[in-house]
Amino acid sequence: MKTKILEFVGLLRKAGLRITSGEVLDCLVAIKILGFEKETFFNCLQTTLVKETKDLKVFYKIFHLYFQDYLEIKEINKFLQKYPQFTGTEKAFSLNADRKGIARSGVGGPTPDLFYAITQGEFASLQKHIELLVQKQMDLSIDEAFYNVESITRNIQIELEWFMALSKLERTLECNLISLEYYQKLLVELDHLKEWIKTKIEGKIIEKYDSEALEKIAESENLYKKDFICLNPNQVQELEKRIRQLGAKLATKKSHRLRPAKNGRVDLRRVVKVALQCGGIPIKLKFVNKKVCKPQLVLLCDISGSVAQFSRFMLQLVYLSQAAFRDVKVFVFIDHLVNVTDLFKHMDIDDILAELPYLTKVSETGYSHFGNVFNEFYHGFIDILNDKTTIIILGDARNNWRPSGLSYLAEMKQRCYRLIWMNPQPREEWNSKDSIIGIYEKNCSKVFECRNMEQLEGLIKKIF
């Protein structure tokens, strides 16, 4: 069992959980105390190995996949190797579907009514039907299934007419045909059913790819190392929580300058001054402590396609840490520059982000044009720069073979304290095709690759 636990810890580490040897030891001691009873075993592992809320979901998933699906499948395979006459049993699971998606459910036979099933508690036939749907989806896309569990789940939901059932449920509540309490219970049932579908899909992947699948699934759960562009909506939501924490941290970051404070280092000069009132006896101590630093920031965010998600994170971060800066100016662009600083001052961040796609002024052609953006900045806003300003540009420098506007960027660099470029494109793709980051690099203080949360966090620490 020790080996299995260590193997499991290995998977968790691949999924981004930072587990030390000490924590593994705690886990083994905890299991020794409480034993292997299923529920207790799960609780022991969770309480000793997971230390962050965001990791809980990953832990549940990997635990379920490893200790239930993976080990169970291994046991079944062992059994089948020993008794090959039983290998035919899987055929009973074969499909009736036409595999063209023409039939209503695609798997033959009528689709069980989801609304009826959940309100009447008729889950048996529904589950059987879902298993067939999962099999059908996996037949269609098993090779891409590693990274598409969410979309496969959604496809199955659509085939089950899930959202129609949900709306029917809401209407039933509105017409007072069911109580609010019962409605809540049904929603919980639906959540469970959705999770069950997901685990079925993952079970199928593991069945086919064995431990390789487990590792890939674990890796795909590592939010911190996942490219911004590959994040699904749930993962974006999870990272937004981290962005909020990062923003709060940035807003209270301290500089090396000191100021009078209630605690900290003794300020001898003030102690002596106050001591004069007490006949020279330093009866009261006075202190100095570090002051919150406030740099000036100008942020230029490319909000076109591939960079959009990263820009949204950065905008959130800057919005939440506005207090950390003496002055913040925020611009967004695609092929034209738009100053959104006022929105930052008067609107909620969710509203600002919702507004971004509707800023028609940022885009004329829909393709990035850095040269024009730098030109517009130079002619419209160059005066806001001074020797204390940090400029951060977020973009992939893919200029669509248009003029680079390098002279304007050089002038911007001249006028500010430092100019930092964050590029969400993989480093190996820099300077290929229409990427001209190499040309811009000469006029930047520093260019960083910033494709995922891990890199973003590291950069924030470096820059501020």
Binding site: L180, E181, Q184
Partner: protein, 285 residues
């Protein structure tokens, strides 16, 4: 302290604090392994109450340290009584035959130390439950001060030496996840996440805390609160607020939940104007 997880459930139930197996296992393991327990979860799910309930259930001494921005070791661990040291130096200075060397050594004795909550917990003769509340509100530096105390159950005072705990206190840290805690701190703790309870548990909590409330009404209240929690409000109503709401409805003499009562009392559950608008738009209308 506790014999097994079931014992935790039973003892805490006697203190009117209902828990599930998961919480019981974490509390039991924290006691057995002598490790601090870091409890996270939304505001108002009963994290602080858990500490209080454990203290009552084990007849222990509860010492609470409320964290805030700017909290330092002088407020949490110990502080030298500077004025007393000064007086001592002045009084001894005039005594004949006393050398400065002797005075210098004697002013750094425990007599001149102000004991703050952490040191108090370590020096207590009674079994102690140390509740470090809302650790996420303190600064990074404060977390570093805690590291030695939480792993070795000792405090190093540079001028005096090491003070070891007389008996290891049960340490419970709570956090609302406002900022990420350091890996070093998390590594030293066991972890427990308390989420909002399911309908049945919340009804049980409500009927336990407000005994005059009928079960039927309790079910309706809880169903309503659970619906609000699904609305993605800026601040979801907590268990504590559900209890307050139930008390308010009892105080108003209502024995059923109608639209008018909800409208009159919704401010007990929803605490932001935007949230109120959202609730009015989506549910009350």
């Amino acid at each position: 302290m506790f014999k097994n997880p079931n014992d935790v459930i039973k003892k805490l139930e006697l203190e009117n604090y209902l828990i599930n197996d998961k919480i019981a296992t974490s509390v039991f393991l924290a006691c057995s392994l002598n490790k601090p327990l870091l409890v996270e979860g939304p505001a108002g799910v009963g994290k602080t109450e858990l500490g209080k309930a454990i203290a009552h259930a084990t007849d222990g001494n509860l010492i609470r340290l409320q964290c805030y921005e700017g909290l330092d070791e002088a407020k949490a661990l110990y502080e030298w009584n500077y004025q007393k040291q000064l007086l001592y130096i002045l009084s001894m200075h005039k005594t004949e035959g006393v050398l400065w060397k002797d005075i210098k050594e004697s002013i750094y004795e425990p007599d001149f130390i102000f004991e703050r909550p952490l040191l108090k917990a370590f020096l207590s003769d009674k079994p102690t439950i140390l509740l470090i509340d809302e650790i996420d509100k303190s600064d990074d530096e404060f977390e570093s001060f805690l590291l030695e105390a939480l792993s070795e159950y000792q405090i190093s005072i540079p001028e005096y030496g090491v003070i070891k705990a007389k008996s290891c206190p049960f340490v419970l840290l709570t956090s609302n996840n406002q900022r990420q805690l350091s890996d070093a701190l998390k590594r030293r703790c066991l972890y427990l996440y308390i989420d909002f309870p399911d309908i049945e548990t919340e009804v049980a909590i409500l009927t336990l805390r407000v005994p005059e409330l009928k079960r039927e009404l309790a079910c309706k209240l809880v169903a309503y609160v659970q619906t609000l929690r699904k609305l993605d409000l800026r601040k979801a109503p907590s268990i504590a607020e559900t209890i307050d709401w139930a008390k308010a409805i009892i105080a108003l003499g209502k024995d059923d939940l109608d639209k008018e009562t909800i409208q009159k009392t919704i401010n007990l559950l929803v605490k932001y104007y935007q949230d109120l608008k959202k609730v009015e738009r989506k549910i009350l209308s």
